[in-house]
Symmetry: C2
Subunit: 678 residues, 2 copies
Amino acid sequence: MRGDTDNYRISISSLKSDMDSRGVGGGGGGGGLAAAAYTNPGLSDSSVSVQPHAEFQGSNDFILVEENQRRTTKDAIKSVVPWMKRKANKAFTKKMLYRRIPVLGWLPKYSSSDAVGDLVAGITVGLTVIPQSLAYSSVAGLPTEYGLYGSFLGCFVYILFGSCKDVPVGPTAIASLLTFQAVNGRGPEYAILLCFLSGVLELLMGLLGLGFIIDFVSGPVSSGFTSAVALIIVTSQVKDIFAIRVTGTTFVEQWISIFSNIHEISVWDTVLGICCIAILLIMRIVATIKIGPPEQSSDEEKPPLDDPKPTFFHKFVNKFLWLFGTSRNAILVVLGACIGYSFFVNGDPPFVLIGPIPPGLPEFKPPPFSVSNGNSTASFVDMVADLGSGIVVVALIALLENIAICKAFANGKAVDATQELIAIGLCNIANSFVQGYPGTGSLSRSAVNNASGVRTPLGSLYTGLLVIIALLFFTPYFFYVPKATLAGIIIAAVIFMVEVKVVKPMWRTKKSDLIPGLATFIACLVLPLEIGILIGIGLNLLFILYHAARPKISIERLTSRSGVDYLMLTPDRCLIFPSADYVRNLVTKHSIRQAAPAVIDCSHIYGADYTAATVIETLTKDFAARDQTLVFYNLKPSVSSVFEGLSPKEFVVCYNEDDLDSLLKARDVFKPKTILST
Amino acid sequence: MRGDTDNYRISISSLKSDMDSRGVGGGGGGGGLAAAAYTNPGLSDSSVSVQPHAEFQGSNDFILVEENQRRTTKDAIKSVVPWMKRKANKAFTKKMLYRRIPVLGWLPKYSSSDAVGDLVAGITVGLTVIPQSLAYSSVAGLPTEYGLYGSFLGCFVYILFGSCKDVPVGPTAIASLLTFQAVNGRGPEYAILLCFLSGVLELLMGLLGLGFIIDFVSGPVSSGFTSAVALIIVTSQVKDIFAIRVTGTTFVEQWISIFSNIHEISVWDTVLGICCIAILLIMRIVATIKIGPPEQSSDEEKPPLDDPKPTFFHKFVNKFLWLFGTSRNAILVVLGACIGYSFFVNGDPPFVLIGPIPPGLPEFKPPPFSVSNGNSTASFVDMVADLGSGIVVVALIALLENIAICKAFANGKAVDATQELIAIGLCNIANSFVQGYPGTGSLSRSAVNNASGVRTPLGSLYTGLLVIIALLFFTPYFFYVPKATLAGIIIAAVIFMVEVKVVKPMWRTKKSDLIPGLATFIACLVLPLEIGILIGIGLNLLFILYHAARPKISIERLTSRSGVDYLMLTPDRCLIFPSADYVRNLVTKHSIRQAAPAVIDCSHIYGADYTAATVIETLTKDFAARDQTLVFYNLKPSVSSVFEGLSPKEFVVCYNEDDLDSLLKARDVFKPKTILST
C-alpha cells in the first residue's frame, strides 16, 4: 500500500526547475524589458534580490529568491577571492571617499546663500550652546568650564566628517548624566579619558559597521529611557534650585534626601530658580508666536490669490520674536549675571553663584592615561576598570541620541549610521585633547539649528568660534551667574524630554509596547541607567523571541475542486527551532482529530533550520505510519532544500492548485487504514 | 495638488468591512457547512484561530484573523472575569485530572499481556540500571551506593505521574556530571539537597507551564552539549582505567594531568578496563545480530507468500542474543566481581576495587537543610548559595534530556512537557528523601525499555524492586567489582553520545547551524557546562534576532493592467522595531531611484509594533512630500489598525488587483512634481 503512493510522490527537483522557468525566469517579453530597465549599478550594494517580473501574477508564487542558498560549497569557496576583491575595491572607491568625508561633497558647491544661512544658524546655536554647556557640566558633576571645553573642537571636526547638517556636537543632558554615573565623582581626568575611550569605541564600531546595534533599541524603550533620564536630571538640579544638600545616588534616595532637608531651603535661590524656569517657559512660547497672516510654505504651488500676504512688519516682528525666544538661555544668563553682579558689588549675594572659572582656552594635550591623587597613582588599567561598562554605555547612547536627531531632520533620506559613528567618535577623540567630556548631537540645539536655516555642517564653525570667544573673554563675567539660573535652564530644557505624549499613540497602535516602555522607565529610575536600559531592551527582545517561538497557525477545513475534503494548515512565519515542535504538535493534533489529508501552506515560511528539518522528517514519518496524506503546498525551494537535507520519506511538495487537487484525488482512493485516536 | 489626491485615498474602515464580509465571513453556503462540520469543542484550548472557508481562493486574502486585536479596552476588561472562570473551570476538569495523574487513564485498562510486557521490560532495565547506577555515582563524585539510592523511589513515583511509558527515572550520565560540577566535592549532603531543590524547581516550572523554555534549545546546541558532556565523562573515567591521579577540573587541565602522570599507569587496571570496553562494544553488536529470515513487521498487511518465515529456533536465538547483549552491563559486573573476588581471596588484587558499600536500604528522612562539617555549620542559605546556578541548570537539563527521550518514543503523539516537568520534579523530590542525587530519564535505558516491549509505566515497578533487592542482598558482592570495570561501562555507554553523525545532515540542511553546534561543543569543553550551553543558546538566539532585524525584500518593476509602471516591494516577514528602519531605508532608496509609484506588498507582514507604526508614518509623510504614490497592498487589518493608531497621512491600503490598478491609474495622471535625487 505504501508502495503505491510512491507513484504520486512528486519530485521536488523537477518541480523546482519548473518553477525556475515559470516564476522566476520572468513571464515573457515584458519581463526582459523590465529587467533591462532595471540595470542600476548602485543596487548591487544592498542585500536585495532584484528579479524581473512582467506580470502581476508572477509574484504570488515565489517572491523571494535566495540564489546563494543553492550554490554548492565548491562554488562558495571559489567565489571568496573575487568577493574579497570586490569588497576591497568598494572600500576605496571615490564614492566611498565622498561618503566617509562628506565635506568633499558639499564644500565645492558652497554658495553665498549657504554662507548666510550657516552664519545666522551658527551664531544662534552658539547663543544656546554656551549657557547649556555651563549648565550641563554641573549635571556631569564637573567644574563649570569643562562644558565649554567640550563644545568647540568637536564642532570643527564634525564639519569634516558629519553627514547631517543639523547636528551641533557638544555636551548634552543624557551624555552628561551618563558621564556623571560612569565617573562617579572620581575627578575630571576620568571624564576626559571616558571621552577619549568612548570616542575610540565609537570610531571602531563605525569602522566595523556595528551601527545596526541601535536598531535593537525600540521606540518605547528609547522613550522610557529618555523620560527617566529627564526626571533624574531634574532631580539632580533641585538641590541648586533650593540650595540644599542632597545625598544619595538613585532617584528615590535623592528625593528622600530632598524632603528630609526641605527645611534648609534658601528662599532667594528658590525664588530665582522658579522665576528663571517660568521666564524660560514663557519665552519658549514667545518663540512660536506668529502675528499677521500665515506665511505660505514654499512647497505649496498655487496659493489662493485672495489670502493676504504678510507684510514686512509682520515678518520682522515674527523673526524678532523667534530670535528673542530662541536665545532665551543666553538672555537669561546675561540677566542672571547682571543680578548676581549687582548683589555682589553690594556685599554677599543672597544666592549661590557659579564662582571663578579659569579664563582662556584649555591646554591642548593628550587625555590623561594615568592619574596621581596625592600619594596613590591610578594606572590606565585601573582607570578603565573604574569606568567599566560606562565606556560602552556612553558610546552606545551617544550614537542612539545622534541617530535619533539625524532621523528627525533627514526629510526622508536614509541616515548613514556608520558615518555618524565615525564622525561622533572622531569628535569625542578630538574633544578629549582639549579636556572635554563626552558629547554628541543635542536635539534641542539641532532644532534651533534647523529652524535658523542652517544649510551645511559649516554652521558649526561659527558655533565653535563663539564658544572660543566666550572662553577667551567672557569667563570673568560667568562668575556672577547664579547657580539657580543654570539649574532653571536645565530643568526648562529637559522637562520636555519626559515623553508623556507617546503613551497615547502607543496605546492606540500596540498596547503591549507600553510594557517595555514602562519597564525601561521604571528600571532606569530605580537602577543604574545602563542596567535599566538593558532590562528594557532584553524585555523587548523577549517579545521577538516569543513571536519566533509561537507562530500563528490558521486551520481551515477545505474541499478541493474534485471534492476531496482536506485540512489546510497555514503557519504565518518561518519554521525555526523554537517554533518547530510547536507547529508539529499542532499539525499532528488537528490532523489526527480531523482525520483528513493535511496540507501545510508554506507560503509564509521564509526560512528553516536543521532543527525544523528534523521535526519535518519526524512529521512526515508519523503521517506515513498512519497512512495519512501530508502535502507541503507552495514551499519555497530554499526552504525545501533545507528539509530535503535529511532525505525525509514521503515528503510531498506541490506548487499549484491543480497539482494539489490531483494529488489529493489520487490519494483519496485509499482510505486511511488507521487513524490513531488521541 | 495634494488636495486632489485625497479623492483617491481609500478609507481603510470601509475596506476592512468589505473584507470581513468577503474573505473572513466565508464564501457562501459551503463556508457555513464547513463551519458547522468543525465545531470541535476540544479546539478551544489551543491558540489557533479556526475560520470557515469553503473555497480554496478564500484563504489567499487573509489567512490570519486576530479577533482580540480589534476589541475595545472595555470589552477586554469585561471579559477578564469570564476568562478567569473558564481558566479555573479548565484547571479542575476530569480531563485535566487524567492528564495530571496519567495512571488513572491506563491502570483501569491494564491487561495481562500488558503485565507480561512490563515485567520482562522492567527486569531487563533493572539489569542495566544497577551497574549504571554504581558507575554514574563515580561520575557524580559520590560514594557508589548513592547511585542505587536514586534508582528506586523515583521509579515508583513516575508510575503515577509519568506520561511516557518508556522512561525509567534514575541517575544519568549528564545529570551525574552536572551534579559533580554543582556539588564540587562538598559532600553527598549537597547532592541530596540539589536533588530536592531541582525537583522543587521542576515541579514549580511545571505548575507555571514553563516547559516551553526548552524550545529555545535547538538541535545543534543540544548535540554540541551532549557531545561535550560525553567527552568530559570519558575524561573523568580515564583515571579509573589507568588508575592514576588526575588533577584539574576542566577538560583541558585533566588531559594535561593525564599525560603528565601517564608513567604511573597501572598495567592491570588498564588491561582490565580496555578489555571491558572491548567486550561491551562487541556485546552491543551481538544484541543486534539476527539469524534466519527477517521477521515481518506487524504493520505490513500482505507479506509476500514466498518469503520464508523465521522458525522457532531462529526466534529463540535472536531473542537470546538480544537479551545477552542488552544485559551486558550486568553480566560484566558479575564477571568483574568474580575476577575481583578470586584475586581478593588470594591476597591483594592487582587492581582497584569499589570497596565496601553500606548494606541495606537508605534511611527515609528529609533532605539535609543544613550540614555541619567538623566545627563549622553551613546553613540552608549557605548551601543554596554554594549550589548556585547549578540548581537551575540541573533542572533545565534534566527536562531537556527527558523531553528528548519522550519525543524519541512518542510515535507522532505530542509530548506534554508540563506533565513531564511535574513528574520528574516529584521523582526528584521523592528521591531526595532516600538520599538519591538528581536523576531523570536515561536515553540508553529507555531504548532498552522500549525494545523489551514495555507497555505502560508500570514496568518501572519491577526495575525499582530489583534495585531494592540489590541494595538488600547484593551490596557485599559489589565490594569485589573492579573500578576499571565500572569505568569501562561508563565509557562504552557515553562514547555513543558524541554525535558526530549529526554533522553531515546539518551540513546538508543548513550549514550555518553548525556554528551554534560547534560553539556549544567547544564552549562546554573549555568552560563550565552551564556557561557553555548558555553561550550556545545565546548565539542561536542572535540568529533569530538577526532574522527579525533584516528581512529580505524583493523588488520588482511591474506594470499594472492599465499600463502604469510601478515598483513592487515585498518584505518577507513582520515589521517590528529592529527591522522597521531598515525596510524604510530600502523602500526610500529604491523608490527615489526608480521614480515610480511604490507598492508595498504586505501579504507576509503578520505583525507590527509602535516603532514600525512611527516609521510607516514618516514613510507616508516623506512620500507625500515628494508627491510620490505609496500604496500598501494586501495589508492585514490587524497590522493596518496598528499603523492607523498614529493616523498617518496619505495612508493608502488596497486589497485586490483591480483596486490597485485603478488607484495607480488615477494617480498616474499627475506626474510626480519633484523626485529627490540621492
